[in-house]
């Protein structure tokens, strides 16, 4: 008994005298996307190098996360140390001084390696406020076998006329194959992301230089009527409730000849584990009308630190690790080059190992380069953002307009009525917010 007591006392003494490392616990809020889940799996690699930091994850669905994180940052709740936010939030939150500027990410971070468009999207007045984790644009994904059968050849830079014509020719409703699948589900990040990008290619814009809504312009009318006609003739039934996931499921099941959506889908549709048509997919730039703008968007998921955080130093270390070139190499060594987070760094697109396994890589890069958040459309605009206007009111306005356009697609309202309703609701909101009188 005495021996046991001695041993316990000895062990306790050892424990007390051992140098204790002050632990910093980082709570990271993120979305449930493949690349983020992979990052969670690799957290041990970071904590092994930084034994004084523990990382805890809060993974949420995108819309839930947006609401959760916005509430917390607006009330300075302090629940999170690292936030995953989109390019839409970064400029708005940075201007409100809600984010810590990321100018201390270390000498080997190589900020100049970031793709210029993406870097622009997450900077305000030349200062980086969030570090891009992965970036995406949109492009055309099409079935090479169906195109070949119909004797069609997809150009690298297709026009809308070609896409519309091909979609009609490739539609075979009796076989359950539709010429084109596009987003129809209402939401600023759903159908409006696609339709705003499409409108840019037709020369339309959300607001003129004086923030006057422009849904009464001929360009918007052309965009919406083309979209509705095309989907009626060559789209799948029930398209007004299709978002990214629904279209992905349709495309992977072989029901769509073409699909215009996020470049990140390329790795899903070419993966034989997910897709029945994995080896019959080709890629092309998003369509244009010859006005100099393609119908593609620009988006990135980024890591940022909320202002007022007491763990800025540890958070900076984590962000520098997760968005570095070394992280890309780490993912490649563990899971292969096909699984590295795309769309943020120039060096990735110069890496032959990556280019070998990602046939869509150069198109992704070209699409990202073609989308300019500072000059999204043909005419001048007062806002920043390609498929959105980076103002706090846009989420509400965009979703309202999205509902009108989704109704036009389902046929419960006409194109003209939807545009008129969009114009009046946007005018009302912009007046209320004080942009126009």
């Amino acid at each position: 008994m005495k021996n046991v007591l001695c041993a316990v006392a000895g062990a306790a003494a050892l424990l007390i005298s051992a140098p204790s490392i002050a632990q910093t616990t980082l709570t990271v809020a993120t979305v449930n996307n493949g690349d983020m889940i992979r990052m969670q799996g690799l957290t041990n690699e970071f904590t092994a190098k930084n034994p004084d930091i523990t990382v805890k994850w809060v993974t949420l669905e995108e819309n839930v996360l947006r609401q959760r994180v916005t509430t917390d940052i607006a009330t300075k709740g302090g629940q999170f140390d690292v936030l995953t936010i989109g390019t839409y939030e970064v400029p708005i939150w940075a201007k409100k001084n809600w984010l810590v500027p990321l100018d201390k990410l270390g000498a080997d971070y190589d900020v100049n390696d970031l793709l210029p468009r993406i870097r622009d999207a997450v900077s305000v007045d030349g200062k980086l406020y969030a570090a891009p984790f992965y970036g995406e644009s949109s492009m055309v994904m099409y079935r090479t076998d169906l195109f070949e059968k119909a004797g069609l050849k997809m150009p690298e830079k297709p026009t809308w006329d070609f896409v519309i014509d091909a979609a009609k020719k490739l539609t075979d409703k009796s076989a359950g194959v539709y010429g084109i699948c596009l987003r129809g589900k209402a939401g600023w990040g759903e159908n409006m992301a696609f339709l705003t990008a499409m409108a840019n290619s037709y020369g339309a814009r959300w607001f003129d230089e004086k923030w006057e809504p422009q849904f009464n312009s001929p360009e918007w009318k052309k965009t919406l009527s083309t979209y509705v006609d095309l989907m009626k003739q060559a789209g799948p039934p029930g398209a007004s409730s299709n978002g990214f996931n629904e279209n992905l499921a349709l495309f992977n099941a072989g029901k769509c000849a073409m699909w215009i959506d996020a470049t990140v889908a390329a790795s899903f549709v070419t993966n034989p584990k997910d897709s029945r048509v994995a080896d019959q997919v080709g890629f092309a730039l998003a369509p244009n009308t010859g006005l100099g703008k393609n119908a593609n968007w620009l988006w990135a998921w980024n890591l940022a630190i909320p202002a007022g955080s007491k763990k800025v130093e540890a958070a900076e270390k984590f962000i520098a690790w997760a968005t570095s070139k070394d992280y890309t190499k780490l993912v490649a060594s563990k899971e292969g080059w096909a699984n590295v987070p795309p769309g943020t760094r120039t060096s990735l697109y110069q890496n032959p190992d990556y280019l070998k396994v990602a046939p869509f890589a150069m198109l992704t890069l070209q699409s990202i380069d073609a989308a300019d958040p500072n000059k999204p459309t043909v005419k001048q605009v007062p806002y920043v953002g390609v498929q959105y206007a980076a103002i706090p009111e846009f989420q509400g306005i965009g979703t309202q307009v999205g509902q009108q356009f989704s109704a036009a697609l389902s046929g419960s309202t006409s194109v003209d009525a939807a545009l008129a309703a969009a114009q009046s609701s946007t005018e009302r909101e912009m007046k209320r917010a004080g942009y126009i009188k």
């Binding site: 805890k56 949420l60 669905e61 995108e62 959760r68 709740g77 996931n245 996020a262 584990k273 997910d274």
Partner: protein
Amino acid sequence: MARMVTTQRKVISTVAAWLAGFLIFFPILWMVLASFKTELEAFAIPPSFLFFHWTLENYITVQERSDYVHHAVNSIIIAGGSTLIAMLIAIPAAWSMAFSPTRRTKDTLLWMLSTKMMPPVGVLVPIYLIYRNFGLLDTRAGLIFILCLGNLPIVIWMLFTYFKEIPKDILEAARMDGATIGRELVYVLTPMAVPGLASTLLLNLILAWNEAFWTLNLSTLEAAPLTVFIASYSSPEGLFWAKLSAASTLAIAPILVLGWFSQRQLVRGLTFGAVK
């Protein structure tokens, strides 16, 4: 002849009941089936009903990626705690309103219910600020408190209607025998209202278990219940339906089992007073 008709009717009503039951249960069944499919089969068009490659892969992934037990324990504590506290407050409240009504009782009841008429998101920011200042964010106590408050009006209303069905004379008889208010509540009222109490308790437990606004918005890690667990598997960009189904199946399993065992009380309670 008459007998024939009865049998036929019985068969028809039985078939109709089973059909209705099956239709209502179908989404849950579909979710359970999807949880055993591969991601490719989960969205196959046309869908395969039973003849697919059954796999436990999704359950293994879900177990690896998140701490189910931690979330489940939180759910049990939060749903159970909020239900018990709500019952403790609601029984005396409903008792007083049912047996000693005043001129204002009806208004009080309606006023209580009116708190349920506003969408919770309308008070999210003030509640969030109060919780931040009192250090209640991401605590089980905080969630128990808000769920208890949220369900209290429904619990009081339900108990009030059950209590009203109990004849006053019985309580008077107890009083004549010298029962105090406490004894009257515990020995006379409660046993008579057991079906009503049980169904209120169960319904409240189910409501608290499934509550997905406050639990998502006021918890982060430590107090996160199963709703947060499910939300971490839903994704607008990527088809993870099989994994989401596996997570959802795990999340509803405890409450489903509880509901199964207590369905007799539930049905009795819900139809209590229906036939007068």
